[in-house]
Symmetry: C2
Subunit: 431 residues, 2 copies
């Protein structure tokens, strides 16, 4: 099956990074991009789709989230991270079962597909249902079950969360033609023992695994670690061997200069979650400084409970403007840098070298954006429009592996009516 998109604006990628091709042609065969040019190909295609007035872009990648938490959207508004977790979130999470986790994940996937996101890095428990939902919806995800422990004597093998992780890893890493990758994960320094961290980090390294952690999200966490270990969380994770594997660290709001050096040296990718960090009052991650030292930066929504949506266009927009304002420097965090964070940088972090850009040979994970909307006129600088003016609702088509999963409000891989029904039932048990 060969499809040709004709006369589109195309966000292409080459050795100078992102550039726009006007009136371009993009050819797809099965799941792959096979043609990209300003000129019409000479060979014929099975389906020709005119895309005049639309932009084709790589679909977006959400670098950090907790997809089932859509069911907790808006819960505990106005609380700090610590009180929000203890008083609002954890009491409800205690009531989540496999079915409600699955339903929450499906709702999240539906929201992300409509907003142009087709791949997400996700940290939660009871993942089997989530994985089934991902495969049914035909999107992609790095899934992980984070380990936690507060018993200094407990060994890895005795730990319930580890056993759940191990079962996931053995069953699903690379599952469904690479749609699912299983990452190693430690929730955070303050929810695990040093002994277990060392053991788990060694295992990750030996397995050539990828590690996903929360790092220095709040000042309380950061200072607590200093007090307990005489080290920053970054120093502590580095000393325990966690950064010896491929690793992504979410938040990094209060990392210090020395921490940034460690992250750069160890090649740790940082997931910036601007909305979540602001809404919980955690603060402004030093993204410009991290960029300056060459750290690979990506963006994430975090869970819907602290966002309160899963909209990567919004994250790009907010990430761009807050740092300009915070550092009194409108020249930093330019649109190209932001687009890289939600595409190539995220693909690199998640070890998915076949997505993130529109190039011949890459997977056809593509969104079409309608440009004929009042807020996108005039089109004087398309990258600037994408980051500052565009809305997730401007996405009119979402494609994964060459298959359209969403078009003009219609979901082809998710039964929207069933989502409503299942969500209603799940909520009845939670609230």
């Amino acid at each position: 099956m060969k499809t040709l998109f004709e006369e589109a604006s195309i966000l292409s990628y080459g050795k100078d990074g992102f550039t726009i091709i006007e009136n371009g042609y993009l050819g797809i065969e099965n799941d792959l991009i096979i043609y990209l040019s300003e000129n019409k190909p000479e060979v014929s295609y099975d389906v020709n789709k005119n895309m005049s007035g639309k932009l084709l872009s790589p679909s977006l990648i959400n670098g950090h989230g907790h997809s089932p938490m859509t069911l907790l959207r808006g819960v505990g508004g106005g609380l700090t991270l610590e009180r929000w977790l203890k008083e609002a979130i954890w009491p409800i999470e205690d009531k989540l079962d496999a079915q409600s986790v699955r339903v929450g994940a499906r709702l999240a996937i539906m929201e992300m597909i409509a907003a142009g996101t087709t791949c997400f890095s996700d940290m939660y428990c009871l993942n089997e249902g989530t994985i089934e939902e991902i495969c049914t919806a035909k999107v992609k995800s790095n899934q992980t079950r984070p380990i936690l422990s507060n018993d200094s004597e407990e060994s890895l093998a005795e730990n319930k969360a580890y056993r759940e992780f191990k079962s996931l890893y053995d069953s699903f890493d690379g599952y469904d033609d690479g749609r699912i990758l299983i990452d190693f994960s430690i929730h955070a320094e303050y929810t695990i023992t040093e002994k277990m961290t060392r053991e788990y980090a060694r295992l990750c390294n030996e397995s050539n695994g990828h590690m996903h952690i929360h790092l220095s999200e709040t000042s309380k966490e950061h200072q607590g670690c200093r007090k307990k270990y005489g080290k920053t969380p970054t120093e502590w994770f580095s000393a325990t061997g966690v950064f010896d594997s491929s690793c992504q660290a979410a938040h990094c709001v209060v990392v210090e200069d020395g921490d940034i050096d460690i992250l750069a040296e160890k090649g740790v990718s940082v997931v910036h979650n601007p909305t979540s960090n602001l809404i919980l009052g955690s603060g402004f991650a030093p993204i410009p400084a991290l960029l300056e030292r060459g750290v690979n930066i990506t963006l994430g929504t975090d869970g819907a409970a602290s966002n309160n949506n899963l909209n990567m266009f919004e994250e790009m927009h907010i990430a761009s403007i807050i740092h300009k304002g915070y550092h009194s420097n409108p020249a930093m965090m330019n649109p190209k840098t932001l687009m890289e964070m939600v595409t190539v940088n995220a693909a690199k972090m998640m070890r998915r070298s076949d997505i993130g850009t529109l190039e011949v040979g890459k997977k056809a994970d593509i969104i079409a954006v309608e440009l004929d909307r009042p807020h996108l006129i005039p089109n004087l600088d398309l990258l600037s429009l994408m980051v500052y003016s565009m809305q997730a609702s401007d996405v009119v088509m979402t494609m994964v592996d060459g298959e359209i999963v969403y078009e003009n409000g219609n979901f082809y891989t998710i039964d929207a009516e069933k989502v409503r029904f299942d969500v209603k039932n799940a909520l009845g048990k939670l609230y």
Copy 2:
């Protein structure tokens, strides 16, 4: 003509501020709200519209902008305010004529209507065309032509901008049944002389006029005024009599503690433009401190050139989260406070006591928002959804004075095709 909206969620307003009525009924006769209750009225209506699954809210008010600048959307990205004005904006503005101003304003109105905004406070020149466009589109606006002068000898009567303002004021204040109000306006302290300011302020006061100014938008402006006059811009405007009238001050990014006292004491309304202030690297206005002293706060988009859209849902969202992050306090800037800024507070500032809330006797300026969207599920706290999760594109109907001007993507008072054509022609002359 009487219309009844049935079974809607309704954002109503009473002595405890905003509250949600579930499964409510809202009745309209001609341009007025005549009924609002949880119970179905006993009298019959000409038209009954089922609004199940939708939220009815007062339409939003944009407190500060420069509508024709949609034609400069995205121009000069990455420059500070001063360089942005001098190098990017002013050279293009020099080429704007009456026709391009009119077309830019029409595009802005179209964008705002689709995003649920029906009333806006606007500062620009060549307003006659803008006013015609507002009346044709059937929205509402406080228009003003700001005065500027760099000649210390020049009198008010000799000033070209003043003569243009005077002509507007005489012709259009209260025009079209109050749809148009003409406000007095001084662009900023750094673009006018003290002599002219005093003369104009006295005139505003004697005419019971309302004044619209830019105030302490940047540190450079603020410190420049201190150096020139030994006063902050707030102290200077206060001393020249500008605050003796009803007044709205846009930005107030670098106002000091003493300035806040003056603004509170004089009853000056402040228009917070968070996106514009961040994107230009100007900084974070001290909104929480202003709120604490009882200053009336509203929100604005500023011009599309420094935003880069006209989306009041986005301004609410950004205004709420940035201050929580900046002050490490998730409890401040709650959803109710934000909703007040874009409705009741703005109506009060613009001296429009007949809009801003859904109450019997008020004008029927109403939006309907579709709640059956993935990012708005579950609906656990509707005010929180409105500020953190909702998108401008969730607006499915916009009504002004009881007349529907927009519904499901269709504009009833603007010819969208002609906008595209006219914008294309206008751009040809500018770029």
